[in-house]
Symmetry: C2
Subunit: 230 residues, 2 copies
DNA sequence: TTGCGTCTGTCGTCTGGACGACAAAGGAAG
DNA sequence: CTTCCTTTGTCGTCCAGACGACAGACGCAA
């Protein structure tokens, strides 16, 4: 069966907020690009000339520190808008990479802006989207500054478990497709600390783990892990 | 001499981006509120029903960790828009407090949204504003995860020195009105580490300090402090 | 089936910086 | 002018967690 243009199921936090007719018009803008797993979508050296709508797959946004250490800011899934935060600059602020085979629509900045002028309700959707992300990053800053590694792991799992972040194609087992290194890169600690913390959470019965995969099985126990001291 | 409605000089990152006629219309929306230094503007328990435009003074946005430790996410100055990130929620995501005597315009959410529908170019200004903030917080996350305290102090001073962040009323000496505790709360470390770092930067000739006040006097030396190991 | 690369799990050493404590200086309020 | 609170500066102790190293398991590609 041929791959559909978009992943089935959830349309993601951006496209799902649009009316069908508005969405169809948006999808005629710009051009589609396919990416293999591991391909770069853009890098921080690139000019910031367009926004992207992810039609299929998964894309991560990350920074590289000087020693090559990677920090993941976001994972995006199908139906999400990304690259929009760079619209006031000439250059990208971070790197984007496809984590799975992906398909994205690239819309030139002026075309997107013109589209928003003609669809002011979409502007409000974008403002709300950016607002939510700002709050999420605010929480991430707070966690990094004041919370131990175990707390940060638990809060990340809680956040992702509550969101629609899942493996594309809708695997039914509700697991989070993340390696220990992914988690470490998202919460700013080292891989061994994540392995230790996930082991402890597994022993308490809060989560299950498989290779490249974590599943929350008892949200109350996970929450309880925040209360007990390390 | 009576206080003017708005601070003189810079109109801040939001209002300065609007045409005079558009700005005048915006300023007729909502209601003005005065705050004494130290007054709360909103807290995280409050319902999120309006956005704020700061007409005069300084407001900080902060979170409180469980042990009462404060983390400052933003300082806003006159002409800035704040409270906009909470528009998708029913409740505020953080706390806001006046750091100096301040005056703010409170605009109910639906009135602001209606204004944007009639002024789509203002929507784009808001999207750009939120985008810049997202990138700034992304940098903060990166710094917290990967940079030592000295590096985080230096980068904060660089960022604020390059912005229009200054004491309201336009003191001419170009200093940054921050205590050591303010800086510690912004970069997520303890006050004594900031004191030590500022002392070192003073000795190298990069900055000058007075009580509640830091001034960058040699940007090259400040930058050089990032290269040398601690 | 085999080989190789990735991922997970464990361990011991080392260090950046949190933190409490204290003293001194500065400034605002009475 | 005095008092008191805030802010700055210094110091010693303690520990969370980074990190390199290594071993074993898993899965993909040939």
């Amino acid at each position: 069966m041929a791959k559909t243009r978009m992943d089935s199921g959830s349309m993601g936090p951006f496209l799902s907020r649009l009316k069908n007719s508005t969405r169809d018009q948006l999808l005629t803008l710009g051009s589609e690009h396919s990416f293999l797993k591991g391909d770069s979508v853009f890098s921080s050296d690139d000019p910031a000339e367009s926004v992207f709508v992810l039609l299929r797959g998964r894309v991560k946004i990350y920074d590289l520190a000087e020693e090559g250490k990677e920090l993941i800011l976001w994972f995006f899934q199908s139906g999400d808008l990304f690259g929009i935060a760079d619209m006031t600059d000439t250059q990208r602020g971070a790197n984007a990479r496809a984590c799975d085979a992906s398909l994205a629509l690239s819309i030139p900045r002026e075309r997107f802006r013109d589209f928003l002028e003609h669809h002011p309700e979409v502007s409000w959707v974008v403002i709300e989207l950016l607002g939510r992300r700002l709050r999420t990053l605010g929480d991430v800053v707070q966690n990094l500054a004041t919370t131990c590694v175990t707390g940060r792991v638990v809060k990340l799992l809680q956040r992702l478990d509550a969101s629609s972040f899942r493996r594309p194609g809708g695997a039914s087992d509700n697991s989070l497709p993340l390696t220990h290194q992914d988690i470490a890169d998202m919460i700013g600690c080292c891989r061994q600390s994540v392995t230790e913390t996930l082991g402890m959470l597994k022993r308490t019965g809060a989560i299950e783990c498989e290779r490249q995969c974590v599943r929350v099985i008892d949200a109350d126990r996970l929450r309880a892990a925040l209360q007990s001291p390390p």
